[in-house]
């Protein structure tokens, strides 16, 4: 495809460019085969397997025993599952509410040409280079009430940040944001750079100030990026696990035991793979539904460009 378009002299045949030449065909199905096989083997097959396991009782040692809908009826009557779903939702909303504004502002700022921008950006993006495990362990030490931050600034963190429900949730949002704001900023930075300067020039001529330009040009132009970034946050949030495992371990009690964590605990701590598969299937459904809903609602699936008419 690429060679077909680039090999033709561009300037001479402008008109012919618009209508696709008859020689240009869509690539055959064979091209998609490696990717498709990979997807089948490592995504679809496990999903089908999990779905099957959710109708069985399996301890990992003996042969799975078919138990019909037992896991599922237990699932729908399990108050812990609903609490987990609720906490997952709270974390999701909390993370989006905290991360989205910060990363938009940071990203747009980083797209500019200010002094020291490069140096400061590099510093801001540093958390992105750390693994989630390292981040979580570092913060767990930082949140120690005797030797960590709460000992110095108790009015911010409280005396027992990880020992209360609201504290633990706030800590999870804080640490996740700390780690992933740089990633989302990077998305916004790229997108903000792509906004044509002519738009700002025109707005400036019309007398629009910085704030007005931001709200009427920058934000609308970033629409698609916002959707991408939110999809990342939603799907990532639904499956976020490592940070919970290492920072709060689902505690205090089961207060921050989000769905992926309770799935992990059911499967790999209590060896109830059947029930864990039921949770996994539900999670899969939830994540898929959330991203489909998000793309539908936002019109992202129509793939309209923010640059139309420019």
């Amino acid at each position: 495809m690429v060679s077909a378009t680039t090999s033709r002299p561009v300037s001479k045949h402008r008109v012919r460019d618009r209508a696709a030449p008859p020689t240009l065909e869509r690539p055959g199905v064979a091209w998609a085969l490696p990717g498709l096989l990979f997807f089948l083997a490592f995504a679809v097959a496990p999903m089908v397997g999990v779905l099957y396991l959710s109708f069985t009782h399996w301890d990992g040692l003996s042969t799975p025993q078919f138990t019909g809908t037992e896991n599922w009826s237990r699932f729908f009557g399990d108050s812990q599952v609903w609490q987990s779903t609720l906490v997952t939702g709270i974390l999701l909303v909390g993370n989006i509410a905290v991360q989205a504004p910060i990363s938009i502002l940071l990203g747009v700022w980083a797209a500019g040409h200010q002094r020291n921008r490069a140096v400061l950006s590099a510093v801001f993006f540093l958390p992105l280079l750390l693994s989630t495990a390292a981040t979580a362990i570092m913060w767990r030490q930082l949140l120690d009430p005797n030797f960590g931050l709460p000992a110095k600034v108790e009015w911010i963190f409280g005396a027992n940040p990880l020992g209360t429900r609201s504290g633990a949730i706030a800590c999870l949002v804080l640490v996740t944001s700390w780690q992933f704001v740089p990633f989302h900023s990077l998305l916004y930075q790229g997108a903000a750079r792509a906004i044509p300067h002519t738009l700002y020039q025109a707005a400036a001529i019309d007398g629009a100030g910085r704030v007005r330009q931001f709200f009427h040009i920058t934000l609308p132009q970033l629409r698609n990026t916002m959707i991408t970034s939110t999809v990342f946050m939603v799907v990532g949030g639904l499956t976020a696990f490592d940070i919970v495992l290492l920072l709060t371990n689902g505690g205090p009690g089961t207060d921050t035991s989000i769905l992926p964590f309770s799935m992990y605990q059911t499967a790999f701590r209590t060896y109830d793979y059947g029930y864990a598969s039921a949770i996994a299937s539900f999670l899969l459904l939830l994540a898929t539904a959330a991203s489909v809903l998000l793309t539908k609602l936002s019109g992202y699936d129509k793939m309209t460009s923010t640059l139309e008419g420019v």
Partner: protein, 427 residues
Amino acid sequence: MNRVSRRWFLTATAATTLGVTVAGCGKSDSSAASPKGNVDFWTLQDPTNSVQKAAVSTFNSTGHGKVSMSVIASDGYKDKLRTGMGSSKMPGMFFNWGGGSLNDYVKAGKLVELDEMLEAYFLPSALEAGKVDGKLVGVPCRGTQPVFLFYNKKVFAKANVEPPKTWADLTELVKVFRRRGVTPFALAGNASSSWTELMWVEYLVDRLAGEGLFQKIQDGDWSKWQDPAVLKTAEMIKELVDDGAFGKGFGSVNYGAGGTSTLLNKGKAAMVLMGSWEYAVQQGEAPDFARNDLGYVAFPSVEGGKGDPKNVVGNPTNYISVTTAAPKETAAEFLKTTYSDAYVQGLVEKGEVPVTTNAGKLLEKAADPAYAKFQFDLVQAAPYFTQSWDQALGLTLGTPLLTEIQKLFNGQSSPEQFVSAVLAIKK
């Protein structure tokens, strides 16, 4: 939010499914045909396994067969073992923690019953957790790790008090140290460290009701949680928490260096209830403190309790178990090395306190003979050594139990709610 965890999720589901496939293939006969041959031995990646390594190479030169040691990182060890045991790649011998973790393997017919003659070489209280339904399936291979009270001698001298011998002493000390602005007991209440809270529950139940109560629960009578001693324990713990025995922020405190251990060696806390490994943690973090000011005593007796005050709780030791995949004679011969003088001395030099009958005379070679002797005597004199409940019950029951204990300490559930929640774990 992040792609790492999403990838994790996919791998996890993939792993689960692959597990099914592997388990499906695992039906082929994995029992060994010839009595001598190659035994695959899975063990933990830790500094002490050099002793095992030495034992393996000595053994391999004796001509009884060959043992090949697979060293596995400690973090994923239990998961890997579980998957391995369900597959055709089952190890012939493996390192384990005894108790409930072996239960499932025995039920699935994976383990070999060991020669009772072996029992004569070990301390009786340390063998209990190596048995399932009275049958020996695990042989001790490491040192013992009893739980007891550690204290800061300087802090005690300053307050002019003695370590507690009875529960009354203990509650009195709580008041003394509170007045002096010192946290009486360092406690790691962070959700990943709830096993440190479990130690309190284990000791109190044992002191109040004796070892029989938990023994019955472990043997399957879950209704025994209704015993008044359990409620009484929960009430005593609530009282300690309310009296500030653990300080106010313990719910965010981590175990070990930077957490409980630092609290103790900096004198911010007076005592900590911990396993014998605390000594090594202190040595690593504050060598001077470990040498001069770290004191240790047995858990106090509880007035009016039915339990023997000499009983201990903790990890009796670690075990080696033999599976049906191992050539019988080679495995049996290898197990004999675990109580040889060379092996035991190797353990002692690594700072362990072995549970073999010949260990007593070898403890003189320990880096701190007084400390080694204290532990050995504690375990030898103990009529009963209760294995940590989470290990004894297995993780299936142990994990939700830890959660309920955590809620009790955090004040999220009352003593009554604690009892009914624990009862509800196994229907």
